[in-house]
Amino acid sequence: MPALPKKKLLRLYHDMMLTRMFEDRLSKLYRQGKILGGLYLSTGQEAIPVGTCAHLREDDVISPVHRDLGAFLIKGIEPRFLMAQILGKETGPSKGRDSFLHAGSKRLGIIPPTSILASTIPIAAGVAFAFKVRGEDSIAVSYFGEGGSNRGDFHEGLNFAGIHKVPLVLVCENNKYAYSTPVEKEMAICCVSYRAESYGFEGVTIDGNDIFAVYDAMEKAVEKARNGGGPTLIECMTYRIKGHSEHDEAKYQPAEEKEEWKQKDPIARFKKFLTESGHLGESEEQDIIDKIASALDEAVKFAEESPFPPGEDALKHVFATNEEP
């Protein structure tokens, strides 16, 4: 448990708050009609990207999905660039070419998500295999929801990873729903972690709303992966507090259930610990919030002032031969 230095604790807290506050801004921008297409938020799930990415190095590679905004930030995309991405601007990593979090970075080690759920799992297995072939101790981390774990690519990707014992950590965000579909209709078992056994490696189920549980489980998995021990599946139990996307009222999520989980908010919970243990004073907290707020102000300003890409750029980057000169 939390034998972590204060600095590290506050970094985790900062990253969770950054994620939450970033998404709150997005929610506002969405209501202002400035975000086109779907907006999928991770409210209540912030401990997962934050607690896992905390262990990664720049040379590690992640493949996040749609509810992993925090992972993009922690892995190094600056808030303003991510904001520009989400607003479809030229200054975002995809230069406005794809929507929302569909942003990658070769330098920062981020495989861009596509909408096709679970499809990045075999790709991440390939990345991890590359590290193994080269004898490097970098690792790959693949994120996915419990819903995505039902696609064939999950099976094929994990099977390959298990056979070759590649340095891959699989982070399942089990938030009880896939869009409107409750987990009982997605699978006949309680826990995605059971599935790891089919591939010859360990699966664990942890409390995904407990930053320490996430941090600790990831620490072990990363160490194992770096040392040739092969993959681990970490299933983080959590809950989707908001609807599937901002336009989804999610009436199918029972009010009591939602209420119950609001009580388990990972940020409030962590804050309570930090305050009670004397790691976080009121002014310190205000400081963190203020800094994030002004960073976000700047990010929104940057993104809003950034130009859209020129239309004719639509024809670029299909092949190397039509790259910019």
Partner: protein
Amino acid sequence: MPEITMVEAIRLAMKEEMERDESVMVIGEDVGMYGGAFRATEGLYQQFGPNRVVDTPISESAIVGVALGLAIMGFRPVAEIQFADFISCGFDQIVNQTATLRYRTAGDMFAPMVIRAPSAAGVHGGLYHSQSPEGWFAHTPGVKVIVPSSAYDAKGLLKAAIRDDDPVIFFEPKYLYRRAKDDVPEDDYVIPIGKANVLQEGDDVSLITYGSMVHHCRSALEKLEAEDLSIELIDLRSIMPLDKETIYASVKKTNRVVLAYEDHKTLGIGAEIAALLSEELFEYLDTPIVRVAAPDTPVPYSPPLEEFYLPKEEDIVKAVHKVIEY
């Protein structure tokens, strides 16, 4: 006759067919209690229960495969793929299992099933919520492919698809879901698969199109109205089988052809039509066949990019001028 939207017409078609025929089922992600990502199946679960309206996990390959198993057993499943962009995940089940079943059993078994999927762009969906995959399937023997352009057609065509004894892929331009509105009869009517619709008769140019492009063609025609041109506007409705009869009759009359489609230009259905015409109606062609289509790139997200990407009214006007002035 109430005016309803395309998505309502689609829902109505399923509802009526399910009432008419016990073997009709609906299967897909979030199609049950929730009523589907676009609400196309709203109310069906409540009316027909979980045995006939089946929520599935995120498993496009199983959605198609399970539907095929049901079809073999005499059901008429209507499978929903949440976005046409994800049909790639069930590709093998469609092309190698479903499309071939009748052929490889010499007619002993067949697959009366429909695969519905919201397709095409215009709603800022980006690469994965904007695709027009009809070209792949028009190239695949054994499946029929439909793309409606109006609420009225959507209802009649979907009913025909459900009653068809062969697999039909039914792409619904999501851009039109709520934009296309018609007076749709509440009673039963069927629009035969494989019959194009001549929306406007004319003598100078055959403008052949389908899906959301029908609407862009219509507004192009309005622009062209002042010019005293007589344009025949044909809505294919069925991409496969193609209504060669209607197309050929039109081209024999006009001798000039513009093909407008939102799919990629290369090997979109317009390529096949142009090839057919240049093979079978060569002597009737007075001018080059002009294609107005999307470029050979993925569908980009940002508004100026998507705008640039999509074939537009002005492109159609230009193409018409080109064949007229040739």
